[in-house]
Amino acid sequence: MISRFRFCGDLDCPDWVLAEMSTLARMSSVKMKLLCVQVIKDLLDEGIDYDKVSKLTSDAKFESGDIKASIAVLSFILSSAAKHDVDSDSLSSELQQLGLPKEHTTGLCKSYEDKHSALQEKLREISLRLGRLEAVNWRVDYTLSSSELKQVNEPTVQLKLQAQDPETDSTQTTVVSITADKFRVLLTELKQAQTMMNALQ
């Protein structure tokens, strides 16, 4: 038996996952597929319906510990397979090697295949990002006069940047005012960066 599994990132399968295969096998394959649908909804932040889950697991007489374990193991399998970009056939053969019955495996892999790209999109979204820029607001002012000089006649840009603080995840607001020349420099540099980004995509 191969001990390295692609869906575990070419590592050994964790012991607890192996242990919960028998728990999953206690459900009927139809009910397990429906449970997969709920788990995927949870992974995609669409909300898991716990009432449905308890109805699905009531036939197999799952206690609360069993319900938690089955949700945990399905979450792990589906998110780990999406993480390592495993195709549905490989996942199917690896799960069967771990002892999950064929009908259950087929149901799980079908759910996985349907939502494969949605799962990966979600995982991409929650990947670590520091100081996410949330909003940009701007305003152009024209200064007519000031206490230092009677005729100023200068345009300025006011930029309000709302970004996430990297360590506390709270929104921080920064306001900067930029003169026309400085702003031209800023714009040129940013456009160069943008060209580079477009070249990569």
Binding site: L130, E167, D169
Partner: protein
């Protein structure tokens, strides 16, 4: 909530039995189920209820509760067996029924109390989770055509109820060094010196 039941018995004796029946049957079962750790507010409400019904000075109720808590925490701390618990309580001179009630209370809640006692206030923040990201810097304002890989880490720590996050950045070589050092630390557990000490503790 059973604290109050028992306290009534001890302070008031026979007449307290009526209060016991009322509290056991009449009171809302939700208070027992819903609150695994009864909220302070519901405790106070029940307390004032009891005080009102039995005409007992609220100060003595307070003392009674504290005495009960001390009894239970000390017994749980030392994991006293049933017989020892019964013997110790008998010395206090309570009735048979009360001793039985106290014993039941002790046995039912022993595990939970031990769990609560086993968590002293943490002095150091401990590991909660780690997020990471691998990036490659391709160009910057002063220099184009670079290839600089960096690993960005966000270490989440927990200190009691407080969560904190620390952002760190490193190049792959330093990361490898970090991994080697940590593996060396783990390997220490397997050294004969460590094993000898662990054996003696167990």
């Amino acid at each position: 909530m059973i604290f109050i039941v028992i306290f009534c018995l001890s302070v008031v004796g026979e007449s307290g039995r009526i209060a016991v029946q009322f509290l056991k049957k009449g009171s809302n079962p939700k208070i027992y189920e819903g609150a695994a750790q009864p909220s302070l507010k519901s405790c106070r409400l029940m307390l004032s209820d009891v005080v009102g019904k039995l005409n007992v000075w609220s100060g003595s109720v307070q003392h009674g509760l504290e005495g009960l808590m001390y009894l239970l925490t000390e017994s749980c701390k030392l994991t006293i067996s049933e017989e020892d618990f019964q013997d110790s309580v008998l010395v206090l001179g309570f009735s048979e029924e009360l001793t039985e009630l106290l014993l039941q209370l002790y046995l039912e809640n022993r595990k939970e109390i031990r769990q609560i006692l086993s968590k002293p206030a943490p002095s150091l923040p401990h590991y909660h989770s780690l997020e990471w990201r691998l990036d490659v810097q391709l160009s910057s304002r002063p220099l184009r055509h670079q290839l600089k890989p960096t690993v960005t880490l966000k270490l989440h720590l927990e200190d009691g109820a407080r969560r904190s996050a620390h952002v760190l950045q490193t190049d792959p070589a330093t990361l490898q060094h970090l991994i080697d050092e940590l593996e060396r630390a783990l390997a220490e557990l397997k050294s004969s010196h460590c094993r000898r000490i662990l054996r003696n503790i167990k």
